[in-house]
């Protein structure tokens, strides 16, 4: 049971949140003209790293905001959280 520091509400338990998968995968520019490969990459391909991961969470039982979490997928350590539009924090080494 993670303890997630919502950037708005503070530390709350995981059951208040909904997971949204990997963050910052972008729609291709001019997506209607994107190649099938580029589009399929956007739709289906995720990094699924063993290690630090930027990911999306929504505080569904709280402020209902989407935000970003940097979490280690092995230790579950959370190094930072940030809001939409915030500069991307570095991944811990």
């Amino acid at each position: 049971m993670l303890l997630i520091p919502c950037p708005y509400c503070g530390e709350r338990t995981e059951s208040e949140f909904r997971y949204g998968g990997e963050a910052h995968f972008r729609r291709p520019e001019n997506h209607l003209e994107a190649t099938d490969e580029a589009w399929a990459d956007y739709l289906f391909m995720r990094k699924n790293p063993k290690g630090w991961h930027r990911e999306r969470w929504m505080h569904i039982a709280g402020c209902k905001r989407w935000f970003y979490v940097v979490r280690h997928t092995v230790t579950h350590r959370i190094s930072s959280v940030y809001k939409v539009g915030d500069p991307l924090p570095d991944l811990p080494s």
Binding site: Y8, C9, R12, A61, K64
Partner: protein, 192 residues
């Protein structure tokens, strides 16, 4: 007007557990609620209409007695008033916000408000609420949205100890049953 039916009218039954009651449960029936969303200057404009500034600090509430504004999110508040004041409140908001982008929505009927009060209200709530409810971190002036059992709820600490639990209308029966069950250990009394 036609007969009105509050969310819990069909749940309240005589014969609720009696005994040494460390906690009292009651249904506040209708509490006027306007959900307000807006950003920037709209927020300031609302302050003028309410007579006090909207709380911008997370998980806080300002106001007095029944009339108050509860922080729900960075651009969302729940304004609470007496049931018969909500049309007037809505009009004041609409007037103050004319020309701004905003959404003021009457959601009074969306939620039931259950009150648990008494010395044992906190341990009763702690059976199903993952928030840290200690007075150190969560007292009067605070408000939080979280879970109680398997229902989402807005939890508002009240003067004298206890909480008002704002819960979606369809979950009210569940939460009522849940609270009666959780309170049984401490002796729970239903106040009508």
């Amino acid at each position: 007007m036609t007969d009105e039916c509050a969310p819990l009218d069909n749940v309240l039954r005589p014969g609720a557990p009696s005994g040494p009651s460390g906690v009292a449960l009651s249904d506040r029936r209708f509490v006027g609620q306007i959900n307000l969303r807006g950003r920037g200057e709209a927020v300031t404009a609302v302050g003028a209409a309410l007579g006090y500034a909207l709380p911008v600090e997370a998980n806080t509430t300002v106001g007095s007695g029944v009339s108050r504004a509860c922080w729900l999110g960075p651009d969302e508040w729940l304004l609470i008033c007496e049931d018969d004041q909500r049309a007037e409140l809505k009009k004041r908001l609409d007037d103050a916000l004319a020309g701004h982008a905003y959404a003021a929505t009457d959601v009074t009927d969306s939620r039931a408000v259950l009150r648990i009060a008494g010395a044992c209200a906190r341990p009763v709530l702690a059976k199903g609420c993952p928030l840290d409810l200690s007075a150190r971190s969560f007292g009067v002036g605070h408000v939080a949205q979280s879970l109680v059992g398997r229902a989402q709820a807005m939890i508002l600490p009240i003067e004298g100890g206890g909480y008002d639990l704002f819960v979606a209308r369809s979950f009210a029966g569940y939460l009522w049953t849940w609270l009666l069950d959780a309170g049984a250990e401490y002796g729970i009394r239903v106040q009508t």
